[in-house]
Structures are given as structure tokens and as C-alpha cells.
């Protein structure tokens, strides 16, 4: 199977869905780039180059550059979704949710319920998250927990290029508003990605490493960290089952609970801050539903309750890594 980067996989998903359905449009800041200037059109393809080439193929009516107005972008996307388009809007960094959250929290998420089931809002918001680039406190956050908290929203956090393509196509074909989180350190990671379109259903976690001693739940870029830890642990005879959530909402509770029932131990690995996040959410799920099988305290390996620091030395300390996961596992395996 062909090897593709996550950037290519996402681009391919967009391209194929745009070819398939004329209602799919891409909206955002510099999703083409170069508008109103003397150089190349399609100069950027998004600041990460993910949408590159779509403008050339589909033109300005389908690949829509906007001013720096996230509220208007998200609102226009939500409004167009409710009236017949299937927009894919880009929020350059998820940190920018602060300037446009209303259009997700109170508009797109709630249309269907508030309007008694009469609205359908097939909106996808693609956004980037995560630390590692030295981009500091306002460009490095992992804010999927805040979207997971919102009824009416679906929330996707792919961990590799293959999943990214399949989950994004699913997101575009899905009739509910979906927030799609792309880790900015993962765009160049390669994976086997089929050329043809395919979907991965929401709410189905993926077991990416087998083991019977401890369940490690991870998502996005932390899946690699968890797998690395699991591999090292297995060298020492400790079997870790690593579950890649893929989507945080809907959440595949079943796979998590089944695994913990088997292993009796839970470690959640999440790059986000610890309070009211996914790690706490999964821990609480297990404490509610799998308590009887639990042999030891749950552990959360997350960023600390602090903003993301700039200096690379601090940023490295800030992030979860395989050693921290291993330490957490050892603590509860004893």
C-alpha cells in the first residue's frame, strides 16, 4: 500500500469528498492563499499546507479564503451547513476557539435540539492542536476536552495518517457537526494509506497494542507515546493493551471497559491539561463502570496544570512521554 504523510492523507480525503459531492466546500484563512496579491494563487494551502492544490482543482467557489474573522468563518460554515452545504472549515489553531466558540457551542451544536430535530448541520471543523513546536501558550493547547463536553458535537482525534483519512471522510459524510483535531507534529508522519476513499466509523476505538496486565488509553499524538511505552514494558514482561480512542465523542466505552475488565488496571495518556479533560473523563468512566475489576488506582499521564511554556527544555518536561507512562504503569503494577 502507498506510504503517505498525514498531510497527504487529509488532503486526499478532502479532494475525494469534494470530487464526490459538490456541496463540500473548504473555508478558512489562506486555505488557498495569495488572494489579492501579486504572487501565486494557492500560495499556502493552509498555513500547514494541508489544503494545497485544492484551489487549483476546485477554484475559488469551493476553496474559500477568508479575512481573519473566525467567528464569521465558523458562523458562515454553520449557517451554510444548516442550509444545504457540507462545509469543511479550518480553524488554524484550536487555541483560536476562544474567538469563535459561540458558533460551535451555542449554534452548530444546539441547532438540532433547539429546533426539535428539524435542523441538520453537516459541518466539519478541522483544527490543529498540541505542543512540540515551541509555539508557546497560545498556539500549543490540546482543547478537545472542551468540545467533547458539548452535547451535539462529535470530536475526532486521529493518531495516524490512515485513520486521519478514514475518519475525515466519515466526518464529511456525517450529518452532525464534527471537530477534527490534527496534531501539528504529526503532519509529516508516514503511514500506509489506500488511494481509494474509505471511512472509519465514529465511536470505535482501535486496539493498537495487545497485553493483559494494564490498559493504556491514549489519543492523537499520545498513541505513539503509549505504544512506545508498551513496547518497552513488554521487554520487561509487562503486557500493556493500548487503546487508541480515535473519537472522544462518541466514545467507545465498551472497548475501554472490556479491556479494563481483562487487565484490571488503567493508565490514560493525554497531552491536555489534567482538570476536566479526557483523562479524567475516561478515569471516571472506569471508576463508575469497571470498578469491581479494577486492581489498582487509575493513573493519568497528562500535561501539568500549567500553560504551555516556550523554552524547548520546559516544553519537553511539560509533555507526557514514554518514560512517564512506564513510570505510571510500574507504580500501579508494583
Amino acid at each position: 500500500m502507498p506510504q503517505k504523510t498525514m498531510r497527504q492523507a487529509i488532503n486526499e480525503a478532502l479532494r475525494q469528498e469534494m470530487e464526490r459531492d459538490p456541496r463540500v466546500v473548504v473555508i478558512g484563512e489562506d486555505v488557498a492563499g495569495g488572494a489579492g496579491l501579486d504572487g501565486e494563487a494557492d500560495a499556502f494551502g493552509g498555513v500547514m499546507g494541508v489544503t494545497k492544490g485544492l484551489y487549483g482543482q476546485f477554484g475559488e467557489g469551493r476553496v474559500i479564503d477568508t479575512p481573519i474573522s473566525e467567528t464569521a468563518i465558523m458562523g458562515m460554515a454553520a449557517g451554510s451547513a444548516a442550509t444545504g452545504l457540507r462545509p469543511v472549515a479550518e480553524l488554524m489553531f484550536c487555541d483560536f476557539m476562544g474567538v469563535c466558540f459561540d458558533q460551535i457551542l451555542n449554534q452548530a451544536a444546539k441547532f438540532r435540539y433547539m429546533f426539535g430535530g428539524k435542523a441538520t448541520t453537516p459541518l466539519v471543523v478541522r483544527t490543529t492542536y498540541g505542543a512540540g513546536l515551541g509555539a508557546a501558550a497560545q498556539h500549543s493547547q490540546s482543547l478537545y476536552g472542551m468540545f467533547t463536553a458539548v452535547p451535539g458535537i462529535k470530536c475526532v482525534v486521529p493518531s495516524n495518517a490512515y485513520d486521519a483519512k478514514g475518519l475525515l471522510i466519515q466526518a464529511i459524510r456525517d450529518d452532525d457537526p464534527v471537530i477534527f483535531f490534527e496534531h501539528k507534529m504529526m503532519y509529516d508522519l508516514r503511514d500506509e494509506v489506500p488511494d481509494e476513499a474509505y471511512t472509519i466509523p465514529f465511536g470505535e476505538a482501535n486496539i493498537v497494542h495487545n497485553g493483559g496486565d494494564v490498559t493504556i488509553v491514549a489519543l492523537g499524538n499520545m498513541v505513539r507515546v503509549a505504544v512506545k511505552a508498551a513496547e518497552k514494558l513488554s521487554e520487561d514482561g509487562i503486557g500493556a493493551e493500548v487503546i487508541d480512542l480515535r473519537t472522544t465523542s462518541p466514545l467507545d466505552e465498551e472497548t475501554i471497559l472490556e479491556s479494563v475488565e481483562e487487565t484490571g488496571r488503567l493508565v490514560v495518556v493525554d497531552e491536555a491539561n489534567p482538570r476536566c479533560g479526557i483523562a479524567a473523563d475516561i478515569s471516571a468512566l472506569v471508576a463508575r463502570e469497571a470498578f469491581e475489576m479494577l486492581k489498582s488506582p487509575v493513573r493519568m499521564v497528562t500535561a501539568p496544570h500549567a500553560p504551555v511554556p516556550f523554552a524547548p527544555e520546559l516544553e519537553k518536561l511539560y509533555l507526557p512521554n514514554a518514560d512517564k507512562v512506564i513510570a505510571a504503569v510500574r507504580e500501579i503494577i508494583g
Binding site: 459538490p22 456541496r23 466546500v25 467557489g61 469551493r62 474559500i64 477568508t66 479575512p67 474573522s69 467567528t71 464569521a72 468563518i73 465558523m74 458562523g75 458562515m76 460554515a77 454553520a78 449557517g79 451554510s80 451547513a81 444548516a82 442550509t83 444545504g84 452545504l85 462545509p87 459561540d102 458558533q103 451555542n106 449554534q107 444546539k110 441547532f111 438540532r112 435540539y113 433547539m114 429546533f115 426539535g116 430535530g117 428539524k118 435542523a119 441538520t120 452535547p151 451535539g152 462529535k154 456525517d174 450529518d175 452532525d176 465511536g203 462518541p250
Partner: protein
């Protein structure tokens, strides 16, 4: 005056239905049987009806928290509305939305909105759909004077201009946002001029005069349908009730509302105009009003008799599938 007698009847019917509806809601709300908040539109009927008369089902409107008038002007079912306001099964939103979220997408009514200003970007989205899918439709966004100070509204105007979308902004200047005067809240003192500086034509018109509103909107809608991009009107007309029903309105001058009602009521102005022009007679108009009243009476009776949503409704309509 280019409107046919039928058009005039339609317009008057819509205006008096709004008036009857709102005045009745004021009464029903006071009984305590209507939950939540209601923001009444009485006094501003000529704006909604003037703006919507020429629209059809492919056209879409986006409303505000003060949305009953827009619903009626766009042809929403009166009984469905009243059921919704009472929170009953069969309401336009199944009793889950209420006054602040009343909507009817089948009629091109994208919803009242409890977040001031939030409807403006949404309606730009409706404009994008119309342009992209070449529906021939236009998108009309209602925005209060207070709401014009929201970032969302400013961004929406600029984006509509940048993308040359078939959007019309209707700035409803009823002089007050909650308990704050427009002259205080809008630093420039001029909503139309500030909006025009975003790069579109915006007329300031007397919102109490249906004919003036309708005429100004005709130009805007034509412009949008022709692909010439967004435009707007600022229409001035007072609200007759409080910000929400129950508001003591102590921020208003004594007799302020009485004066409005007596001197420049939009229904009276309309009536005078069509009678003077011998287009419709007293009988016609009275009959229409009586019909409107009967419609509202029936809607209230139906709503009061209807059951509330059942327990199984709590967890439906959150997602299409989950």
C-alpha cells in the same frame, strides 16, 4: 405604490397577525403558564413584513431573540408558534426551543437566537449556500441596534462584502438594547453609516412605514439576486413592550410608549395610507384583523389543550446519529 391589492392584504394580514399575536402573548405570559422569557415585537411590525413580503421559500431569514415577528412575516404557522411558546408537543421545535429558539427551516426561517449578534454570521452562511448551489435565493439577517456592537456582526458584514454574497442586513433600530440607549452604545451614533463603511450600501429608513421599508428592501433584494453582493437597511421603529415581558421599563420616559402608539403606529400609518389611496377599505382591513385575532385565539386554545413533550423526548434530536 406598486403593490397589488392582494399584496397589500397579505402585508396587512402579516402585520396585524404579529400585533395580535404579541399582544396576546403578553397577556398569556402574565398568567404564568408560559415558561421562560418572551421578547415582544409589537411596534416593529412594518420592518419584518416590509423586509419579508417579497421573499419566497428559497429565501432564508435569520432572526434575533425578538423573533416572533420575523417568523410570522416569513409565513410560519401561528399555531405551531404558540404551541412552541407554551412548550408543548407539536410546537415548531417540539417544545424544546421556546421563544428564543423558535425556527422553521422548512419555511426558510433559520431561527431566533438567544445570542445577540450570532445570527449575522449564520445568515452569511445561508448566503454562501445560495451562491454556491445557485438556488437563486437571498439571505436576510435581522440585527438589533444593540447587536450591531457585537464582533460577530462586524465580521459578518465584512465577510459578506468580501465574498459578494446575496445577503441583506436589516438593522432594527428600536432605540434601545435591553436598557441602554442606542446613542450611548453606538459610539458613532450612526448604525447605517458605520455599516456602510464596511463596503456596502445601507439606507436609513423610517421603520414605522411599511411602504418605505418595503421599497428600500426591494432594492437590496434585487441587488442580492443579481449577484451584486450584500447591502442593508437601518429601519427605525420603537418596541411597545419591555425588553422582555415583565421588564418594568423604568429606563423609559413617562408616556413614551403611549406617544409612540398614538402618533406613529405602523398599523395606523398603513391603514391611513391604503384608505387614502382607496386601495383597501375599512371593512377589508377590519375583516383581516378579525381573522388574525381568531387565528391567535385558536392557537392559544390549541396550545393550552396540547400535552407537553414526553420523557422520551429528552434524549432525542441531539445528534442525527451517535
Amino acid at each position: 405604490m406598486q403593490l397589488s391589492r392582494d399584496d397589500l392584504r397579505t402585508a396587512y394580514r402579516a402585520m396585524v397577525t404579529i400585533r395580535e399575536f404579541e399582544e396576546r402573548v403578553a397577556v398569556e405570559f402574565e398568567t404564568g403558564d408560559m415558561p421562560g422569557f418572551v421578547h415582544l415585537y409589537a411596534g416593529e411590525e412594518a420592518i419584518a413584513v416590509g423586509a419579508c413580503l417579497d421573499l419566497d421559500e428559497k429565501d432564508i431569514i435569520g432572526s434575533t431573540h425578538r423573533g416572533h415577528g420575523h417568523c410570522i412575516a416569513k409565513g410560519c404557522d401561528i399555531q405551531g408558534m404558540m404551541l412552541e411558546l407554551f412548550g408543548r408537543k407539536g410546537g415548531l421545535c417540539g417544545g424544546k426551543g421556546g421563544s428564543m429558539h423558535i425556527a422553521d427551516l422548512d419555511r426558510g426561517m433559520m431561527g431566533a437566537n438567544g445570542i445577540v449578534g450570532a445570527g449575522a454570521p449564520l445568515i452569511v452562511g445561508a448566503g454562501l449556500t445560495a451562491k454556491t448551489l445557485k438556488t437563486g435565493g437571498v439571505a436576510i439577517g435581522f440585527v438589533g441596534d444593540g447587536a450591531t456592537n457585537q464582533g460577530a456582526v462586524f465580521e459578518a458584514m465584512n465577510l459578506a462584502v468580501v465574498l459578494a454574497l446575496p445577503v441583506v442586513f436589516v438593522f432594527e433600530n428600536n432605540y434601545i438594547g435591553e436598557a441602554t440607549g442606542v446613542d450611548y452604545a453606538v459610539g458613532s451614533g450612526d448604525i447605517a453609516a458605520r455599516a456602510a463603511a464596511f463596503g456596502m450600501p445601507v439606507d436609513k429608513v423610517d421603520g414605522r412605514d411599511f411602504f418605505v421599508v418595503h421599497e428600500a428592501m426591494r432594492g437590496c433584494i434585487e441587488r442580492a439576486r443579481n449577484g451584486d453582493g450584500p447591502s442593508g437597511i437601518e429601519a427605525l421603529s420603537p418596541r411597545y413592550y419591555g425588553h422582555f415581558q415583565g421588564d418594568p421599563q423604568n429606563y423609559r420616559g413617562a408616556d413614551e410608549v403611549e406617544r409612540y402608539r398614538a402618533e406613529h403606529d405602523c398599523l395606523k400609518i398603513f391603514r391611513q395610507r391604503v384608505i387614502d389611496a382607496k386601495l383597501l377599505g375599512d371593512d377589508d382591513l377590519d375583516a383581516i384583523r378579525a381573522e388574525a385575532k381568531a387565528l391567535v385565539d385558536g392557537a392559544v386554545a390549541a396550545a393550552r389543550a396540547a400535552p407537553p413533550p414526553g420523557p422520551s423526548d429528552l434524549m432525542t434530536d441531539i445528534y442525527v446519529n451517535y
